[in-house]
């Protein structure tokens, strides 16, 4: 991620304290909005994987970025904000799921993918095969233990092992073992 709020903030000229405070605050707001534009979709997708509805996922995502605003305003660390955002999203999604009486949209995301998306391959036979393989893979994903699913989804979103470990609160070794295990299962499914 090339953009960091500090870079914006450090460019401010120190005017009077009041106007400066306003400037800093608006810079933080702008930074949060920019990060929201960059990461809203992946965060919503990740939150959806916890079985929440789109409405709930959007609400959780809003909460995440409001928390980010507070985080930046409180001068907390600005290193690896993407990892921070996913970590907060993970915790809030778990919390929201816990508060919901029943999760009825458990596989909303993957079911939607499997049903609505077709491979762009021009050959109908290949298209069917490809769709079948995708269904197999997503079916395997859905029966993995939750921690393995989270590791795999976060890796697919481009996060590094260290970031995943921090988000899930597990060791680096646990992440690599989880991904190897999941990959093994995916490979078995792929061969069927």
């Amino acid at each position: 991620m090339t953009f960091l709020p500090t870079e914006l903030i450090s460019e401010l000229s120190p005017n009077s304290p009041t106007s400066l405070e306003v400037s800093v605050r608006s810079e933080v707001e702008r930074a949060v909005i920019m990060l929201f534009e960059q990461l809203r979709d992946p965060v919503v997708r990740y939150v959806l994987s916890f079985g929440l509805s789109v409405h709930d996922a959007e609400e959780v995502t809003q909460e995440v970025f409001l928390a980010l605003f507070g985080h930046l305003q409180r001068e907390k660390s600005r290193r690896n904000l993407r990892g921070w955002i996913f970590r907060v999203a993970h915790n809030l999604a778990l919390k929201r799921r816990g508060t919901n009486q029943r999760s009825q949209n458990q596989t909303y995301l993957d079911r939607t993918i499997a049903e609505n998306r077709l491979d762009s391959s021009p050959n109908p036979e290949e298209q069917v095969l490809s769709a079948q393989r995708q269904r197999h893979l997503l079916a395997v994903l859905n029966v993995l233990p939750e921690e393995d699913q989270c590791c795999l989804r976060l890796r697919a979103e481009g996060l590094r092992y260290r970031e995943i470990a921090r988000i899930l609160g597990i060791s680096l070794g646990a992440v690599s073992i989880s991904l190897t295990r999941s990959l093994g299962r995916l490979m078995c499914a792929d061969k069927r």
Partner: protein, 309 residues
């Protein structure tokens, strides 16, 4: 890879594919792959599966989510509202944007002032501690939301309301207690001065999880026992159907002191327990310990002490 003839494990191949090996190890793996067809074939299989999975998962990128425009507008409105509410001191901002050396200098002065004020307080045992000083001490009263954002478990209202008292106020296991103190870098203070407290109590569906635990100093006005009163009150309200469980969880996790004020309609704890309020001497002795603790050495805390004396 001590023996060049031993094949690489899937684990190692995956780490290699993901660029997670050390440079030295990655070089060895590359060298092995250059000579071993079996491992290269296995690597191709692994990468093929990753490609297939990434393609399947990648379709999510094209999944029709609602347009970002509405949520962005909503976020902007909420941020504006939030910014209007926040009262962050202008001077705090001055420190924020200042140069590193200037910040370091003022942080040093702040630390010096803390030590001087702490020593004076300890020597003279002056009257009751006023809110202004408490404002600084009370920094430990709420958890660091980075470390302790709160975590819940899946429970029903019936389960919560039929919990035995010992489950509602469950003791935190020793290993977790140690882990939390380490996370908060509290090493050179007496462990009994802190209670490892649940942010969301088990009686409200809180989980026994490091993300839901934090070390709460016992010598603050807003201490663990005050929080217990709130937890019991919220538990009763939830079980009486007067309060939604998710609201109770959210309120206590967001800012339990604000929740206390809200649900008890008061600005101060209703009753301060005598054993915790203690004598002024005890209080200042504990204050001295707390000032020496690493928690207050964090930059934000130092600035708060200086800027809001």
């Amino acid at each position: 890879m001590p023996n060049e003839n031993v094949h690489l494990s899937d684990h190692e191949l995956l780490l290699s594919a993901d660029g997670e090996l050390s440079r030295h190890r990655a070089a060895k793996v590359r060298a092995h792959l250059a000579t071993c067809w079996a491992c290269r074939a296995r690597m191709a299989e692994i990468e093929g599966t990753i490609v297939d999975f990434a393609r399947a998962y990648g379709n999510a990128r094209n999944l029709k989510l609602p347009s970002v425009d509405g949520p962005r507008a909503l976020l902007k409105a909420q941020l504006t509202e939030l910014a209007a509410k926040s009262k962050v001191g202008s001077w705090l901002r001055f420190f924020w944007v200042g140069s590193t050396s200037r910040t370091a200098m003022y942080a040093g002065i702040a630390l010096f002032l803390i030590v001087v004020v702490g020593k004076l307080a300890l020597q003279h045992f002056v009257g009751p501690v006023e809110n202004s000083t408490l404002g600084a001490i009370e920094l430990g009263a709420v958890p660091d939301l980075n470390l302790t954002p709160g975590a819940t478990r899946t429970v029903t209202i019936n389960e919560i309301c039929s919990m035995a008292h010992e489950d509602v106020v469950r003791e935190v296991p020793a290993f977790l207690r140690k882990q939390i103190l380490q996370e908060y870098r509290i090493t050179n203070v007496r462990a009994e001065d802190y209670e490892i407290d649940y942010l969301i109590t088990p009686g409200l569906g809180g989980a026994e999880d490091v993300h839901n635990l934090w070390p709460q100093p016992k010598f603050l006005t807003w201490n663990a026992h005050v929080k217990d009163t709130l937890e019991e009150h919220l538990h009763e309200m939830v079980c009486a159907g007067k309060l939604d469980l998710s609201t109770a969880q959210r309120d206590i996790a967001t800012d339990w002191i604000a929740a206390y004020k809200k649900y008890f309609q008061t600005d101060r704890p209703l009753s301060e327990r005598s054993d915790l309020a203690a004598t002024e001497e005890k209080r200042y002795a504990l204050l001295g310990q707390f000032l020496r603790a690493p928690m207050l050495r964090r930059p934000a805390a130092v600035k708060n002490v200086l800027l809001f004396p």
